[in-house]
């Protein structure tokens, strides 16, 4: 083809020799669409958030064994805490200074607590809030948060990480990503994490569906 002027579609020449191009196009399409299909869980999940939720539903994730600190200053293993009392848990992640998404989480948890107590379900499912900011959330901050949220320990407990070095292990296993925001705040994805009686993460439910989370937890 003459490249000094613009290429023109010459009908006579166009048909000839297009087979290699068409073959290459088909291969490129198949490969490319296949990769997109794999990356988006079959075209169903375009965000990391939806991907992790469907991933966990398919394959439960064991909770790592790390140390947590509770509101009275006791240190214990997270896995032991979860496995004790043979009940399922709904876990969320906050930092107590948070003014944004954590307050919605708090409200949802208060609703859940009310429902658990009203229906006498405290023996079958518990609520656990974990602070990922151990630097600022020591026992007194946790106590203050517990009072503010009107937590009733039989239904709802709060702990903090005992060692800040464990933070990435904890957040990675649950799929939480924390970004620094202005004014010392954090921006992070939030959801209701369902942990079964064997300390495995078995489901992630959106904050807007606490009922579904509760039903899922009761079934585990």
């Amino acid at each position: 083809m003459d490249k000094s002027s613009s290429p023109v579609l010459d009908p006579a020449a166009a048909g000839a020799g297009l087979l290699p191009t068409f073959a290459a196009c088909l291969i490129a399409l198949a490969l490319g669409l296949g990769l997109v299909y794999r990356a988006t869980d079959g075209g169903r999940a375009f965000t990391t958030e939806s991907l992790r939720r469907s991933e966990v539903a398919r394959r439960p994730v064991p909770i790592p064994d790390l140390q947590v600190l509770d509101a009275v200053g006791r240190t214990q293993s997270l896995r032991e805490l979860l496995a004790r009392e043979n009940r399922a848990w709904i876990v969320d992640f906050v930092y107590t200074r948070c003014q944004s998404i954590c307050t919605s989480l708090g409200t949802v948890y208060q609703q859940l607590q009310g429902e658990i107590i009203a229906r006498g379900l405290a023996g079958r499912v518990g609520l656990l809030t974990i602070s990922f900011d151990p630097v600022n959330d020591g026992p007194s901050a946790l106590q203050e948060y517990a009072l503010r949220m009107r937590m009733q320990p039989a239904a709802w407990q709060i702990v903090s990480l005992a060692r800040v070095q464990d933070r990435s292990l904890l957040l990675d296993s649950f799929g939480i990503m924390v970004i620094a925001a202005p004014l010392g705040e954090f921006e992070h994805n939030a959801a209701l994490h369902i942990v079964d009686r064997r300390s495995r993460l078995v489901g992630i439910v959106d904050i807007s569906e606490p009922r579904a989370a509760l039903e899922l937890a009761l079934a585990k």
């Binding site: 579609l9 290699p20 191009t21 490319g32 990769l35 990356a39 965000t47 990391t48």
Partner: protein
């Protein structure tokens, strides 16, 4: 997100674009020509590569995993090169088909990013998502204007679209 989507990614594509003009003949032998008649394959390849790296989940993965980031850099470079190779041999109608699809798509994506309340990438704040969205609208529109101007320059003396 603004840096990632509006500076790093376009610059990589531009790098590939410019490099393709200066490749020595042995790297891009004329035999490739058979597989990219009228630029069809080049357009498909570059559109697929760009679309893949615009998916929020893959953006997150590239931020978190350096290996994926390296793959992204190489493939975006290839995207620009494929685009250049395609543009050199695509008649206006073929360009119209591909740019007429992908540029409005880019602008639509930018409008979506800048208007939705849903934070799409776990790695980037909602605020940076708004800014990136607005930037994408500008980028898509500017690219469209540049392309149309190029088309006009090439064909303004012809009575019909080739």
């Amino acid at each position: 997100m603004v840096w990632h989507m509006l500076v790093q990614m376009p610059l990589l594509v531009l790098g590939g674009w410019l490099a393709a003009a200066h490749w020595p003949a042995r790297l891009a032998p004329a035999s490739i020509e058979r597989y990219n008649r009228f630029g069809l394959t080049g357009f498909i390849v570059s559109t697929l590569i760009a679309a893949y790296w615009m998916i929020p989940a893959t953006i997150d993965r590239a931020v978190v995993l350096p290996g994926i980031d390296a793959v992204k850099i190489v493939t975006l470079w290839l995207c620009g090169a494929a685009l250049r190779h395609a543009m050199q041999r695509a008649p206006a109608l073929v360009q119209l088909f591909f740019f007429g699809y992908s540029l409005p798509m880019l602008v639509w994506l930018g409008l979506y990013y800048s208007n939705t309340d849903l934070r799409l990438c776990n790695a980037y704040s909602l605020e940076s998502q708004f800014a990136a969205g607005q930037g994408l609208v500008v980028l898509g529109s500017a690219a469209g204007a540049l392309w149309l101007r190029g088309l006009w320059q090439r064909h303004k003396h012809e009575p019909t679209i080739p």
